[in-house]
């Protein structure tokens, strides 16, 4: 699905957010990125969803070299990648139905998109998608009236309508409470399992990552520190990942979610 060689992003001002990442993610694979804040996870995701241009390095999505794409070809490549952000995914004043239908924008012509704003089309499909994410009753609610967790569900429903090959989720649960976090991550992994879409997630909560994903990649200072299944990860490896970064992590005001092992995806004993 993804292949990256020496992927690097240096921002103006010389800050090297992502420094030379080599990576392969297969179709249908589920991967979680973990690491302290400032490790370059979000930048990496913005490179992976074709929002940022890498300073150096190459990137292929489903075998296509995407670094030099523009215009219609770039939009076509983006359609294959669904992104869920931490927050602010959605247009607040729009009704839920339109926010979900926005997943179709890549496929629709502008007149079609406009007509749907006047009278929403494919409402049945939207309804099914909302049923799948557990909030079918919110079809015609105004988006800014929903809770944070419900808004993330709407964002997931939009990805369902977009029907991409890979779902990227950048800290999808760091602004919802821990119990909800588990259910939203599980929703994502279930979708990935059922549809065969790849799932690439950035997670703040290490426990959640270890419990729900068969492949964990540790990112620190823009580089991959380890790339391994959760069973083989040692405490020391994890400690090294976050070493000296605790202050930066807590400065975010998002402490690691208290974890309830009973409601995890599939319990993995930590070695």
């Amino acid at each position: 699905m993804y292949r990256a060689e020496g992927l690097t992003k240096v921002f103006p001002g010389g800050i090297r957010a992502v420094g030379g990442i080599d990576l392969k993610i297969g179709a249908g694979e589920r991967v979680a990125f973990i690491g302290p804040s400032g490790a370059g996870k979000t930048t990496l995701f913005r490179l992976l969803n074709l929002t940022l241009k890498p300073t150096v390095g190459r990137l292929w999505v489903a075998g296509q070299d995407v670094v030099h794409l523009h215009g219609a070809a770039l939009r076509a490549a983006r359609r294959k990648i669904g992104t869920i952000y931490q927050q602010h995914n959605l247009v607040p004043r729009l009704h839920v139905v339109h926010n979900v239908l926005a997943g179709r924008l890549g496929a629709w012509s502008t007149p079609r998109a406009l007509l749907s704003l006047l009278r929403p089309v494919e409402v049945e499909v939207v309804h099914r998608a909302l049923q799948q994410v557990g909030i079918p009753e919110k079809l015609y609610a105004r988006t800014d009236e929903l809770s944070g967790g419900q808004q993330q569900r709407v964002a997931i429903a939009r990805v369902l309508l977009q029907d991409p090959d890979v779902i990227l989720a950048d800290e999808p649960v760091s602004s919802v409470d821990p119990t909800l976090a588990v259910s939203i991550v599980r929703l994502l992994t279930d979708i990935s399992r059922a549809t065969g879409k790849s799932l690439v997630v950035n997670l703040h909560s290490v426990d959640l990552a270890l419990a729900c994903f068969p492949r964990i990649i540790g990112l620190r200072e823009g580089k991959i520190l380890f790339d391994a299944p959760p069973e083989s990860l040692q405490e020391e490896t994890l400690a090294a990942l976050y070493q000296g970064a605790a202050a930066a992590g807590s400065a975010q005001g998002t402490p690691d979610a208290p974890f309830d092992p009973a409601s995890t995806c599939r319990p993995v004993p930590r070695v």
Binding site: G13, L50, T51, R78, G106, T110
Partner: protein, 289 residues
Amino acid sequence: MPPSTPPPPAVPFLASRPSRFTRGFLLLFGLTTAASWWAARVDLSTLFSREALRNALFFAAEGFPPALSPEFLLFLVRPALETVQISLLGTVVALLTGLPLGVLATASLAHAGPLHELDLSGRPVRRLLRFLPYGLSRALLSLFRSVPELVWALVFVRATGLGPFPGVLAIGVAYGGILGKVYSEILEAVDVRPLEALQATGASRWGVFWYGMVPQAFPHLVSYTLYRWECAIRASAILGFVGAGGIGQQIEISMRMFNFGEVVTLVGILVLMVAGTDALSLRLRRRVL
């Protein structure tokens, strides 16, 4: 919480440059104000001198009692309606000019900002092609609004003859320039994060515009347009002075006849009309917000 646009490069840039810019700007502003005070010969003693006050009072006293005879009031129905028509049609023309130009003049939609990061980086020709309509519409808007509506009215009175039509055109062009500029600023000010999310689905710029920008900006666009309509009522009164019809023309005629009682009545009607649009726009704004 990490914002979607990585802040590190922006921080040092923002912290150092604007503060110097702001200081320079404030200094210049202060100096200009002081110089203007002197250059415009602001002398409050002339305003509050005994003679000035007596003249002003005399002028005001001339206006009382206001002319309220039924036949005069009845006669005013037509010019009053004409003023409403001029302002309304003028605002519609301004909307039709300002909206397309304002959308084209929106930098975040045309060529700048995160929506174009990957699409335009390293493609100077493409960037230039995107910049051209943007720059052109900005120049047009700037031309439209830098010429005052009174001057536009004089031009159009020459072209089309006396009457309400040149007034409509004058307001349409001058206010089109103002509306377009403000529309572009409103559109640029919307939260960019939902726009990025839309763009990441593969949406085109127009898809992002209709689904992301317009819904966020809509109440502000409506609100500002209604405010401009209110301004247009006042402006159409002024335009009457140069022969563009309406209440303004009546004010000018009554002034010339030294019939200040009629002038007071006419100004009163103008105040009522502005208050009326204000009340109407308040109700409309409540509905769209």
